[in-house]
Amino acid sequence: MLATTVIATPHIRYLAILPEIVLLGGGVVLLAVASLVRRQLRVRVGTLLTVAIAAGSLGVSLWQWADVTGRGGFTAIDHAVVVDGFSVLVNILVSCAVLLTALVADGYLLRERVGGAELQVLALVSASGAMIMGSANDLIVVFLGLEILSIALYVLAAFNSRREASGEAALKYFILGSFSSAVFVYGIALVYGATGSTNLAQIADFLSRNVLVHDGLLLAGLTLLLVGFSFKVAAVPFHMWTPDVYQGSPSPVTGFMAAVAKAGAFAAFLRVFLSSFGLLRADWRPVIYALAVVTLLVGAGLAVVQRDVKRMLAYSSINHAGFVLLGLQAATGRGASDALYYLFAYTFMVIGSFAVVSLIGRTGDVAHDLSTYRGLARRQPLLAVCFAVLLLAQAGAPFTTGLWAKLQVVLAAVDNGSVPLAVIAMASAALAAFFYLRLAVLMYSPAPASGGVLGEEEPGEQPVALTAGTVGPFRAGPAEQAMAEAQPQPVEELRAPAVRGARPVWAGTEQSVAVVDRLNAALLIDAETVTVDGETPASAAADQVGGDVERVEAPDPALVSKVPVPALSAVAIGLCVAVTVVFGFIPAPLVDFAHHATLLFVP
């Protein structure tokens, strides 16, 4: 009996998964090649090959795009994989992210002297996982992609073995990720139990033809899937790993993680919930609504109090996830296309931002305190401009893709009647603008000459009352104080720059710097990780660096020197800024692209 059973293997259409194959195969080739070349050349060869591989998969994805727009999407490999505009857009996005990450990582690897091409290989593997998530048409395949993505990421997080924080981050990520994977698989099992299939199309088909009298099992499965995805996209309250992991991972990896993991997870999230469980939207929309609200508020609110820039950007990415949830919450094709556009814009902003952060972090990847950014504009104006543009884009400033991204998801929410959610989203964006602008203002404020406080280095000015001792935990009305000092000559103050004569151009920003300083003093929390039961996790120890308020004013002189900017990092940052600004001025092509991608969406 057994002998006669033939296990039918599906026909495999390799063209359908060509981008994934290019990445995975490229990774294997790279591993082989890297072991053959001399140690000194490994990083360079790795970068070169990775860029070529990423460009190749980008080319293949673009070819797929032409193919898909020509004759529509299709499913392959026994309907386990789908190729449509949606999946191709994810492929393109992930390819871009790999390319940029390779450029950024090159300088990092040379600087830190940790390993050769392994980082690139892991990034390629992880990226293929994200692509698989984007094109999965079966819950099992989604899970497969999720694991390929995650396991490589766990190793990437620990990549800088010299940093204790890196190892801690990886371990935390691994334990929590495994936990959420387990939850996710359990969800698949329950959904299979309720519907008899793990194929997305068949689930949708089943649900459209049957009315479940007892749908508790299905809803429980749905919940578990939702939690699994929410963990990956870092939605509150499943976000807690994010700050620790983002902070601990090597900075280029953090950028990659923020872009690719989020893109892959959201792609699968959108596809599964819109195509399979579209009919149940009345059940899951309120949950997404609530998740979006807390994600937006917690992300923005906690980012405000961060002193470590990487931690701040981690919370900011949580806030961004809240915005993408807005698109999902709309539960329409329009919302999906807005979410995709958001992810596309976000990828370039976040990789560019972390590229700058990894440069500023200096050898050891440790200098991430806000104070190290003070006066960056004077030391390295071009770098500061690029970072400022990327930050403004994240804040949603006009003439950047950030504006259009936020505008569209908010419009999608409004169109769907979720006006309160839209209002909360905009309020959180306003709150978020504060910490982006704080960093921008810091970069454009004068660096303390010899560790002195701001007030001391400006003789002749009114003594700005930010002597360290006077800054209590929180004094009511920091802005009021600033106002009171500016008060005596409200009108003359406006003419002041002309009178002051030969002051540098940023002299006019002193007042705003003073205000920001006060707000900082009032808001920043020194170490977020508190000690419990006398134990101190390593991340808490790392957080203590930077210490109390005075140290914002007096950073280590070594940390306010110029940082070297490798050419490849400069290219990556330049590309990110260019995409952000060009498509901010001319939004239509990208918007149309995302829109077409969802029009071609084959459920």
Binding site: T223, L431, Q487
Partner: protein, 643 residues
């Protein structure tokens, strides 16, 4: 050939980018030449496009299909600029006889003034920056003119506004220049608000911003006074940009900018943008006779008021500035009476002769080392023959002496106004007399009489050196413009309307809007009246100003101080505004806004202080968070399934 249209705005933009990148390095004079060549290329492209458009059959030049650019496509867009819901804004150009006419004279005059600036701005500290702004200005002006929808026009509108601001306060180390730039900008903002609200109104009623579609659906604006509101709001925008009552005071102050700027922006091109906007929106104007009346009356009154002020100015550039206000008043009057062709005719002629007058004045100022007071000039015809000769033609043209261009253009407007309304005609004729009078005064004081610059000034400043004629790069534009100022009348002679500007612009305006049914004898009588008035004014001024310099009885304080207009604004708006601002600074800003900021800060701080306790750094706590969230959602979901 119509494809050359795209080069028109792109070449100055390229010039702007190149100058921004390398301008400072190549410096004086190559930066100037780069800018000039870019604009000259734009002018060449405009000429090529013009030829292409002329070769189109007359029906194909009509508004409805003029966007095709010969490709057969229904519209020719660079790209869709803003796609937001129902609003699809395309960055497309609208090429029709009106925009074409504007482009040709804008690029032509710009080219000449760029050339002139090469000489005028010599040895300036920020030589290359000047051309950066100037090229950006030409680009913005062409965007304004060529846009096929209100929003892109607004982009150009703001672009020229900001260039005007930068250029007026180009020498910002002088306090007067810095505040003049601010004044220009703020006055214009008032108008811009009108523009924006008009755009909102039009979009809310018609659902589109593209000119052709708005005009096709203009019936949606009918009723409820929407059309009148839109027209008046657009006119408010025009009063700002084109310096009409009540927003005209900024233009005289704008003379703080370098003289080529005054010639290009504040005489020939930007200040006529308001008139262009009204002409562009003529199908809307036709829907509101009340709006048209307001426009006509404001135009006529502005022309008269500005002319009276121009009679008493001592500063040569301020005199010319009020003259510009007055001349634009004529154009607005023409628009208000429905005589759009006449308005465009005067706009073109005015660009030539007023540009020339400013450039001539600049030449004089250049020759006398920055002396602008006419009472310290005189007898310059002997030292600056080229400037004198070309200024002479410009003077006769603006004074409307036959057969120079001003005579035909102004005659066209006057005969139209005569057919529409007699009191307005009387006012316009009186203004024509004043125009010839004040221009003659300026001319005599500057070029004839005694050489007063040889004597020390009454206030003790020393005598000037012997004036020198300007270099050839400055003289050549003078000669070309003088030629144009003399012969520009040929483009629309009254007995040849069927083959001239009127016929060319007919697809845009249509003679349906206005048709002055006047017999030949009435027309001749009107023309004779114009000529007589002009010559009489010349003679009166000759008698009064040939030998005398001071005639206090003819220069009352009331007129010198601009009818106390600035004082009025200061009392009614400026001072209360300051009080208000101070109140807001001390009460609203310090208490309410800062209170809100501090309150938010306190809230965030205290909440975050609590929430952060959850972020312990321990995996066990994180897992607990995930589990609790899971349970909460599960409870919600299961409760739904049971309910």
């Amino acid at each position: 050939m119509l494809h050359a249209a795209f080069l028109m705005p792109l070449l100055p933009l390229a010039g702007f980018v190149v100058l921004l990148a390398v301008g400072r390095r190549v410096g004086d004079p190559w930066a100037g030449w780069i800018g000039t060549v870019a604009v000259a290329g734009s002018f060449a492209a405009a000429c090529v496009t013009l030829i292409g458009l002329v070769h189109q059959p007359a029906t194909a030049r009509e508004l409805t299909c003029s966007v095709s650019c010969g490709t057969g496509a229904a519209s020719h867009a660079f790209f869709t600029w803003i796609p937001v819901g129902g609003l699809q804004v395309k960055a497309a150009i609208l090429l029709d006889p009106l925009s074409m006419t504007m482009c040709v004279f804008v690029t032509g005059v710009s080219m000449l003034i760029h050339l002139y600036s090469i000489g005028y701005m010599q040895r300036d500290r920020d030589y290359s920056k000047f051309f950066v702004y100037l090229n950006l200005f030409v680009f913005s002006m062409l965007v304004l003119v060529l846009a096929n929808n209100f929003l892109v026009t607004f982009v150009g509108w703001e672009g020229v506004g900001v260039c005007s601001y930068w250029l007026v306060s180009f020498w910002f180390h002088r306090d007067s220049a810095a505040s003049a730039g601010k004044k220009a900008f703020i006055y214009n903002r008032v108008g811009d608000v009108g523009f924006l609200i008009a755009v909102f109104l039009i979009f809310s009623k018609t659902g589109t911003l593209t000119y052709l579609e708005v005009f096709a659906h203009r019936h949606l604006l009918a009723g409820g006074g929407a059309a009148t509101a839109a027209v008046l709001l657009l006119f408010l925008a025009a009063t700002g940009k084109s310096a009409q009552i009540p927003l005209f005071n900024w233009l005289p102050d704008a003379m703080e900018g370098p003289t080529p700027v005054s010639a290009l922006i504040h005489a020939a091109t930007m200040v006529t943008a308001g008139v262009y906007l009204l002409c562009r929106a003529n199908p809307l104007l036709a829907m509101s006779s009340a709006g048209m009346w307001v426009i006509a009356v404001i135009g006529g009154v502005t022309a008269f008021v500005a002319a009276t002020i121009a009679c008493t100015q001592q500063d040569i550039k301020k005199g010319l500035a009020f003259s510009t206000v007055s001349q634009i008043g004529y154009m607005v009057l023409a628009v208000g009476t429905g005589a759009y062709v006449a308005a465009i005719f005067l706009m073109v002629a005015h660009a030539f002769y007023k540009g020339l007058l400013f450039l001539g004045a600049g030449s004089v100022i250049h020759g006398l080392e920055d002396e602008q007071d006419m009472k310290r000039m005189g007898a310059l015809r002997r030292w600056m023959p080229w400037t004198f000769g070309t200024f002479l033609f410009a003077w006769l043209a603006i004074a409307a002496v036959p057969p120079f261009s001003g005579f035909w253009a102004k005659g066209d407007i006057l005969s139209n106004v005569y057919a529409k309304n007699l009191p307005l005609y009387a006012l316009a004729l009186l203004t024509a007399f004043l125009t010839a009078y004040y221009m003659s005064r300026i001319f005599y004081l500057t070029f004839t009489g005694k050489a007063r610059w040889q004597e020390p000034a009454p206030d003790g400043s020393p005598a000037h050196h012997k004036p020198h004629e300007s270099p050839w790069v400055m003289r050549l534009p003078l000669v070309v413009l003088a030629f144009c100022a003399v012969f520009a009348g040929l483009i629309d002679l009254p007995w040849a309307h069927s083959v001239s500007l009127a016929a060319w612009l007919d697809p845009v305006f249509g003679n349906r809007l206005f048709d002055s049914h006047q017999s030949a004898s009435v027309q001749i009588a009107l023309a004779v009246a114009d000529g007589v008035v002009a010559v009489a004014a010349l003679l009166v001024a000759w008698g009064l100003w040939r030998r005398r310099v001071d005639r206090p009885e003819l220069e009352p304080d009331f007129l010198q101080r601009v009818w106390y207009w600035d004082n009025l604004y200061d009392a009614v708006i400026g001072r209360p505004g300051q009080v208000m601002a101070r109140t807001f600074a001390t009460v609203v800003d310090a208490r309410v806004i800062d209170g809100a900021v501090n309150g938010t800060a306190a809230l965030v701080r205290s909440t975050a202080a609590r929430v952060r306790r959850l972020q312990t750094g321990f995996v066990r706590n994180y897992v607990l968070g995930v589990a609790l969230g899971l349970v909460a959602i599960l409870v919600f979901m299961v409760s739904r399934s049971w309910s």
